[in-house]
Amino acid sequence: MKRVVTLGVIVAGAVVAALLPEPPPAAVPLAGVVIDRPGIESPIDASIWYCAWAQANAERDSAMSVASMAPAEAEFTFPVAIPGEPADTALVATLGPGAAIVTLSDVAQRGDSPAFVEFSDGPAAAAVTVVGDVVASDQCVSQGPDEWFFAGGSTMTGEALALRLFNPFPEVAKVTVTGFSEIGVEALGALRSISVNPRSWRDISFEELLRQRQSLILSVRADEGLVVPAMSFRTGTDEAWWGGSGLSTSWEFPVTQAEGTDAALVIAHPGVSAVDVTIDLYGTDAAFPAAFTFTVDSQTPLRVPLAEIDADLLGARVSSTGPVAAGVVGVGPAGTGVTTGAAEPARTWLLPGLRTQGLDTGALWLLNTSEEPIAVTVGVLTGSDILNSRQTVDPGRLVVLPVTDEDALGYIVSAAEVFSAGWTVRGPSGIAFATGIAIPNE
């Protein structure tokens, strides 16, 4: 009897054990968490700006300008392209809002010195203005697309076009450069998966590689690692540099045509089917809505000269039925300027490189593409103060304000409605075009 009872207990226990449910499986690691391959983005309140083009030598120097909406420290790092060699650094502080400038030659004087700037707070922005035997200026970049596009370059006789690939990261980057021009897709097999060493950079000249291209569109894609590309275009005695852009269906160019330059808008459509493009132009006293409409074929650059427009100063808006890359290039007696546009207008813009220094005079460009007048607050950022003034921009108009305050280290412009802003720097040795840095709407 005892044995039967025991066996009954054993069987019951075995049945219970067999029927015990399996615990739910452990959660799949990172389930539901989308982790994309990060680009060069950084948080707004601790942003990192990458300035691929900065030079200091016997003939030219660079002003590394920073501006911040909040009190912040900006730490500059200038990598040395020699393995094991420590980077040069510099540290400046800004008010909130405020601006500061580091002169490159004070830190390093070895020719090319790409850098990155880390802000302790933000929003903030950085720009580089090269002065001396040339005038070149544009914003640095703190974010970018997977594939960068450069529109506006050409390799006609007397022109030089160079692509800089700056790798500020500690891993070797592999980059593929492709391009197309008016003669079609370019054969650039030699630029497939090229290496860029960590904390270093690599320049690629196209005037020999792809000769006599009037409109050369280049794109840069990182296969491994990350790079920050920048383009340099030299014609005559002046030089321009600008950062790349992504694709967008609309672009605003507050700086399109300046006195002493013949400007052209260059539009590139890397997609697979044709798109319709409309170009609206804005002068200081007249607007030219739908000044041009085109159908842009795939992989074919469209170069639109603006010389026939009866205006010395122009802003522009490009609208298309599909994403395109766009740039403006101005060449003339005043010098050479190239810049990309802003993908969308904003309420606040930082213009860290805008100032007048010696014979180089700056100008603030404000573009209102809306149908309402906009009251813009223009703030002069000095090292210790902010001086505000108000400027109304009529609907469909461009306003260009020469900058005369020599204490200015940068500007901040803001309004209740969206608009776009840019700047030019004009000097005896050339001219520079730059688009402002939009502060995201809160």
Binding site: I10, V16, F169
Partner: protein, 927 residues
Amino acid sequence: MATRMSTEPATARPTAPRVVAVVTADDPALLVPCLEAIGSQVYGPVRVIVVGGEDEVRRVAGEREAMWRPNLRAVYDAIGADVDYVWAVRQRARPEPGALAALVQDGTRVDASVAGSKVVEAANPEVLVSVGYATDVFDGSFTGLQVGELDQAQFDVIRDVAAVSDTSMLIRRDLFRGLGGVDPAMPPTSAAVDFCQRARLRGGRVVVIPSSVVRYEGPDPAPRWRERAGETRAMIKAYSPLTLFWALPVAFLVGLAESVLGIFIGRFALPGVLAAGLWNILHLPSALKARFQARRGRAVGDEELFRYQVNGSTRLRALWDEVAERVRARFPEGVLSGFADAVEAGQQRIRNPAFFVGFLVVVFSLVATREIWSERLPIVGYSLLPPDSPTAALGAYAGGWNPAGLGSPEVLRPQVAITALVQFFTLGRSGAAVALITLGSFVFGAFGMSRLVRTWRVGPTAGLLAGVVLMAGPGMVGLTGGSHWSAIPAIAALPWALSTVVGPGPTVRTIAATALIIGWGAAFAPATILVPLLATVLWAAVGVGPRLRAVARCGAATVAAAALLMPWVLYADFGGFLGDGSPAFWQPSAWIVAFIVAAGAGVALTADRVLGSLASWGGLLVALGAIAARSGDFGGGAEMAVFGLAMVSLGTAAIVAAGFDAGLRRRVWGGSAAIGARVGLFAAFFLVVATLGLAGPGRAGLPADHLGSSFRFAVTSDGTANRILLFGPVETLPGGVRTLDGLGYRVIVPPYPRTWEAELNEPRLGDEALEALLLDVLDGEVRRAGSALAEFGIAWIAFTESSPLELLFEAQLDLVPLRSFDFPVFRNEITAASARSADGSPWLAAGTGYRAPAGAAGAVRVASNADSRWGPGSWEQDGWATRVVDGGPSVRFAPYTPRRLMAIASGLWGLALASVWIITRRRKAAP
């Protein structure tokens, strides 16, 4: 036998058996006296045939009126159908005149198919050479004679033997033809064993006839390796596949053991073992052909062969005898009387079958743990080596700093302390301590099980095999498969604790000894502390004999053992302890469950009261253990699984012991009991076979090494203390882990974590800060993760396997991906150290504290969770970390005095228990 032999001379009656003598020869000088001796037989053969040799042999045979045939095949034709028996004689034989007559007379009388003569030395007929052989299961022959043993008629009785000497064998003619005679490929002794074995398979009886005396002109030894090869060939020809399945590997192991032991007497058998193996591989086709002939038409099975075999290995036995003889010879008579007794006892023991099984258990343990004692404990999961310094480990346990993760003052598991104590015996070597504990646990666990079941009169062989299942059975497979190395010594302690507590010893001594044993096991795996008590209670419920006293003793011993776990036992959160870790859910294979059920039910339902109770007890342990080990859905964690699987191990071993013992008694039981015993035996056998799965890889069932050599690159040459942040699925990380959206992570000290890092503390300030930082990284908010991680002393980030999270670290400005590794690794460009001075100089690790490098001093920041007991000097909280100012050249955690005192008290308590145990033993011995 169809024809009866006659005792009269051949000429007396025409019905007398007719015998033909077949003499194997190759030397005419030896052949002549052999033929003369045959010619002088009082019972003469009808003809004499000489087989083998060349012209000279043929000439000599012709001169003696004997036929000559070149080989055995030709002999078959020459024998003729009128002959009843073949008398196989070797050329060195000198049969006495009545030898054949005795063979015919007595062989006929006992109905023998093969009858052999007593063989004595030709030069000294008083010295015995052979009176038939016993064999072992490996077909090694055993004469049972001492060297030079005199013939004093002590063996003069007709008896069945495994084999007779081929010097003189009388063989039934039909059997001689049917079996194809003696295998010419084999040396004499193994050929005789082989022939007799084949004869027995056909149902023939093999006997030795002592009245038939043959003098032997010797010696004529064959090379040892040839005899060994012949023995293996004989096995291949005769045994069933099942027997061959285990006997051949074991024969090889015996050869290896002989090789090792033989070194002590200047003999190295390994080349012979290998040569014999190679010879058999080369001759395998002929062996298989002969096997086909031998087993075709067999009348009996292997069991009939086993009846005439001795237990163990005759070769090892001979080796032991030789060693003992040499030892005796080296010392004057009487000097070694005590030792001689021991040797004699050893000889007696070695003849015990349990000794051979015990030897196999030791070999099994060596094989099952070979990677651990020859290389290192695999570093995976909770299978971790102890710290290099046993004093530092003891200090950390006794109220010191717990270095797991970012550190804490939480009490370490007692495993750290008990391993450190063992480490003192291995001169501080952590790997040796682990190897000693592991191997020792396997051996002692198996022998402990034998000792336990002996309490219920279960034989030692069954007990030892049950011990193998205890240490390598399904329960242990589940535990070590989950990397719970510390469960090995804990389970090994269980049968010792139980055998002590159910034994008849005095109560005080029993409680003291049992408490020590339980405490030993529980120190390694605290979850097992209640298993002996629970097992005793269950035995009290279903067992036989006086049992309640054992429950009381075990209860007292468990309480006493718990005190040995101080201070851990007083600070542990037992709810969390049993519920933390991976959910318990043991999933044995259906076959294993079926065998456990078959063995348990087969015995419990049919066996006698004792074995039935033993099987029932095992069944209860398995059932309750399985419930605990599968309770993950109800909150059971990793330690609950340890508790449950410890019960499963013990229960399965008990069932196997009952199954084997019942199986060995099946012949004396009848009816359903015999059937149940056979079922139990069969199932228990397969449970033992299943342990080979654990033994095969040689890691005691632990998973393969995962981290042992992965992070050697991270060890700094100057001893700077830093850390690795390790990510991966929870099951791939060592010890306890934290999770980040389901992805496990933890910090470890390179090259791999030690036991004191196994269990992570409850999250403290630093742990929360690290989690917040990682969340920021995950949100893309950080671009200089290296700089931030350097604050935690993290110099490396690694992943056990690829993860999307790598992308976030690849985009950092100060982390360098190292692509040359098999797994993702990032080097922190920012110098990281677990402790550094204000000037940035990294400090060096010293136990759980740090010491300044040469030239560095002043304030030091310790990247461990803030705690005010860091010193010496003044302590400041630096965020989540610790800063020590004016601390001198070293900083450390000042131990908690109460915890240290508790640890010392537990040690003293252990000494007290040991003293009680020893003193009471002496008192018992005094009268």
